[in-house]
Amino acid sequence: MKDWRYWLAEQRGTLLAFGIFIVMFAIYSGNHPAGFTANVVQTAANKGVLLAFVAMAQTLVVITAGIDLSVGMIFTLTNCMASWLVIGTGLETAFGVLAVLGTGLLCGAVNGAIVIYGRLQPIVATIATGAVFFGLALLLRPVPGGSVNEDLADFLTGRFFGVVPASLVALLVIVLVVWVPFSRSEFGRAAYAAGSSETAAYMSGVPIRRGKFLAYTLAGLLAAIGGLFLTFFTYTGEAAYASGNAYTLFSIAAVVLGGVSLFGGKGSAIGAIFGALAFRTIGDLLFVFDFDPLWQPLFQGVILLIAVSLGAFALFRVRNRLEWFL
């Protein structure tokens, strides 16, 4: 077999997500009253990248066979924080951005430390830390409000050369700066190895703990980038419980659609990004077909249910029933 066939096989999940996204987006823009214009693309991109960042964050943790139910709350917390700090002169804004990203890193590191060194189950640990993060967000913004450096916000949510949505470019940069180095580093590989088979990874002398810790920490960072962008789009900070929860939930859906295995060890953040974009587009399809927006949560819920059930088909290949219990 040729190299490209292996590449293709490895990227199958990502390519599938990409395909779903293209088809969905074609249907979407084809039926959009305004058609396929720079404006439609820009709006869709701005909505999509928020979920894409959170989905990337979720991917990192899911690769280690864990789960982070606090990503949505880190996203909310950093949004509230940015609505206080990312304002003022250029230097002040820059410090604000750094502080927001640092907070995200810290939140992720706390999750990682509790799960890896505290040996708690990721699910309960991150539900609990999620409550703390939400509490902090509420402390910062008991009522919605605040503001953001609008020049920066408009720059990052506008268009380059009149056509390219700036948010997509930002997403690309983050992929190149965070995801690519991580996935190609020894620790990224350790995260994959730990998620795929922790015992084999241990026997092979892989730095499991550091790999997992880095994954949780970077997940916090990526969620914070998402929170920052949310602030750029809305110009305000809001500690909305339902929205934070929804982002956590949708990040899992995006990850599954993006071909990332919830059992760990398999998938890529690129796939999750397309999963996120596709998920958003599917959700918005209802609008262009003039459905009542009331149906949107149900529609998204059903997509999620189908997506998580797809993984179950591997079950029918199991020939020794004891493998059910591994």
Partner: protein
Amino acid sequence: MSETTLGGIAGRMPKFLRRADPAVVTAFACIVILLLLGSLYSRSFLSPEYLLQQLKVASFLGVIATGMMLVILLGQIDLSVPWSVATGAMMACAAAAYGSVGVALAIPFGVLCGVAIGLVNGIGVAYLRIPSMIITLATNAVAQGLMVVYTGGFSPQDSATAAMRYLATGFTIPGVPNAVIIWALIGAAMVFVLTRTSFGRAVYGIGNRERAAYLSGIDTRRIVLIAFAVSGGLSAFGGVLLAGYASKAAQSMGDAYLLPSIAAVVLGGTSILGGRGSYLGTVAGVILITLLQSILSVMQMPEAGRQIIYGVVIVAMLLLYGRAPASR
């Protein structure tokens, strides 16, 4: 080193000491400390009226946490609690709008809707072997979607039936709220099921080692399915009671019960990995959480502070009791 000596020492200890779980003891100790701290703040904390009022508030959480405990004992988790609660409440109120038959069937209908959600969870976990936290998140989203479509996105206008209000706020025995009696009955039933029935034994067995339970001839999938259905039904019943308490259902009324129900079970010493825990612990956990909430609100602690304290308390308690073994 010798395992037999260890067993020998345990065997000679008095029965109540042997059986007392340090986590349960700690939880009850925390309740006493909270009450003492509260009484320093205000004398009324030790009054029977206040305590009964707290028990009444606790009973809603208690009913929901009972279902959660059953699922956690299996080593699973039910994250569909928020919208199982809301679905139960809304569907019971909705049924009430359909004449006298509707009024009569309101409560069973609400509970059945919760059982239906639980059955989907159970099928996903037991038969499709989807991780419980994923499938329950998904059914939660679907239940939410259904309710949003049904209510049009607003809190429904149907109000609770008289029976629902009576269950939640009435008094059958003077001085003892009905909600407390209901919790006591459900709790007693749960204790009986867990300790005296083959179903209860199977639940603990599966939670400890599903492989061994399966090889012992237990139909583990059926047990898991039933447990999720019961959990869904109890969540919905909790919703029915809450709707009776507030006279109507509301959007996102269940959101406030997910974390507390998990926390109550885990703080009561039930292992999040399954197989270990007593209902007495869950009772302690429920009362502890309710008192914590009550004291924080009496002290006018804002919602933000409450969330933070919750999260920190849960992580801290888990680090004490809920850690996975270190050895690989």
